[in-house]
Assembly symmetry: C2
Homo-oligomer: 334 residues x 2
DNA sequence: CTGAAAGCGCTTACAG
DNA sequence: CTGAAAGCGCTTACAG
């Protein structure tokens, strides 16, 4: 059985392939009779246009790539789920498809940076951009439009969307201060992360605005792991008894903190209050439930996808740095 | 600036496009001198092969589609994350890419079932197959190979991988019986789900093997939501005080059950033991931590992807129904 | 070892 | 309203 192509349909009806193509795309008027015959032939023959051929001829793929985290992180990260859901919903609405790439680059070798480009995409969404991100270099080199999810310190990157993390941390620290806390630690991420810096600034400003001394020693830079939070809070407890509250980089670190506190039977929030960032499902499930900064991941994903499509379709040329509102959700841990 | 194609490179070097193509693919021997010149020209010109053109000419896409749940479910489902991670890792190893489709079909209208096929894929992975799944119909019609993640009652579906849920529930119920429970309820999913039936069989067999009466009234068919578990357990408590344990369809329902028990200050597992299925992160985080049946989602994803690629590459023609081992993880709730 | 040429299956000015 | 034809950028028998 030979493959049925647009030519097969055309011959069956007795018209040219061009006419069939126009009938399908609706880009030209086709007489009703011919149109009807074509539709019938398509049905009878079970004709399916070849998307690859169409893409090649029209130079358009209706596909967007999402550069995500390593799969190890994806496995236990609801933040990813929400961003993904936002991206998917927007793409669906705009009739685009999603290619999902996990991050397999090792820190040392550059692996095969070309690999992810083995499919044609019209644009890309980049999560967790690194400082000198090889994916971004590739994207630039190929002239593929892209939008960053997160903030870049590189001003040549014209499009990104992020949540207003600084404002979120400001609110979180203000909240703790209003509860009477005076010595608040920030369990931050790695110092060279833009995300860490944004947190630090909000934290610092809240202290200053409240007339509380800002002390760099109260900021710890941790790996984004439960264990890191676990050991860090125990250290603080041992070395600085005046500390009565911590704000963490994310929910995962907070989980470790709370685990340590529970095991050592330290009252939360009585002796130690805890505020996290992320507001993923676990902050609600956990007992005590965790006060957390919501960073609107779904909205970020949706916005980023929208912006990207605007760029792809040339509806937008101006640089755009969107910050979505972050807000504090108060729960039992503070 | 004109687009640089294989022809540009060929002209620069003074050979034919065919030679460049062969040099790139390595499918024919090319003299070292010519090869070197070609490599140089490629670098100088910044040539990137068009994947679309390559796909069209070679009729191969190196891409697999994953038909997932609606985004509403994806947002709070770690089970999905783990399956996804398994799929991605295997595809990466085999040099395939992933197109991710969320499920936007409404229950009533068939939406646009063609939409997801607007990109070329070599094969598909189908999660949560429905009884008469329109995606599967499409796949069949187009002759695209596919593998089901989950079990189908339709024997014409030749490939699927799932966990041995029946054995898992058998173990879970045996475990509860060994703890002295005699009246155990099964908070199951919808009765017309294959997955529910598999659970019921394991549950039933464990009771029978232990000489405990199997009572259909002890099986409730619920929606897969927290609220469903919440109200169900309260009903049971009110109507059948002899019940001292429940096994749930998944972690989400268990969450609702435990919420109800906590709010009514009912001791877990003292008055009521709880066992869930899924063993996602929340079972560990929750307090009390939740005994749960691990269904190896990562392994399922990885196996399914492997199987699919074997089918795509014609290394496998025989039907294959793989069942991975499910095992019970005992925690505080039982 | 290298090349001329057909072919993959569409789209889209252009002409009528 | 319809068609002939070029073009999208590759791959791959086939011939030499």
């Amino acid at each position: 059985m030979k493959k049925v192509t647009i030519e097969t349909v055309a011959q069956r009806v007795g018209v040219s392939a061009a006419t069939v193509s126009y009938a399908l795309s609706g880009k030209k008027k086709i007489s009703p009779e011919v149109k009807a015959k074509i539709d019938e032939a398509i049905k009878e023959l079970g004709y399916r246009p070849s998307i690859t051929a169409r893409n090649l001829a029209s130079n358009k793929n209706w596909t967007v790539g999402l550069f995500a985290s390593p799969t190890g992180n994806i496995r236990e990260d609801f933040f990813f789920n929400n961003i993904l859901a936002g991206v998917l919903d927007t793409l669906h609405e705009k009739k685009y498809q999603l290619m999902l790439y996990a991050d397999y680059r090792s820190d040392t070798e550059q692996d095969n940076p070309d690999f992810n480009f083995s499919q044609p995409i019209d644009g890309a969404l980049v999560m967790n951009p690194r400082v000198n991100d090889s994916n971004i270099d590739q994207l630039k080199e190929r002239g593929i439009p892209y939008v960053l999810i997160g903030t870049s310190e590189d001003l040549s990157i014209s499009y990104f969307v992020d949540s207003d993390i600084t404002a979120g941390y400001y609110a979180a620290v203000k909240h703790l201060i209003s509860k009477g806390h005076k010595k608040i630690y920030l369990l931050n991420g790695r110092a060279d992360y833009t995300q860490s810096e944004k947190r630090r600034i909000g934290y610092r400003q809240a202290l200053i605005d409240s007339g509380i001394e800002y002390d760099e020693n109260c900021i710890l830079n941790l790996a984004m792991l439960e264990e890191a939070g676990y050991t860090a809070v125990l250290e603080i407890l041992a070395e600085d008894p005046e500390c009565t509250a911590v704000v963490t980089f994310n929910d995962t670190i907070a989980l470790g903190v709370l685990k340590a506190l529970r095991e050592h039977q330290i009252a939360v929030p009585g002796r130690m209050a805890v505020v996290s960032a992320g507001n993923t499902m676990i902050t609600r499930i956990h007992s005590p439930s965790i006060t957390s900064i919501d960073m609107a991941p779904y909205a970020i994903g949706a916005k980023a996808a929208e912006l990207l499509i605007d760029v792809i379709e040339k509806r937008r040329m101006q640089p755009s740095h969107e910050l979505l509102q972050a807000f504090l959700v108060e729960r039992e841990s503070s």
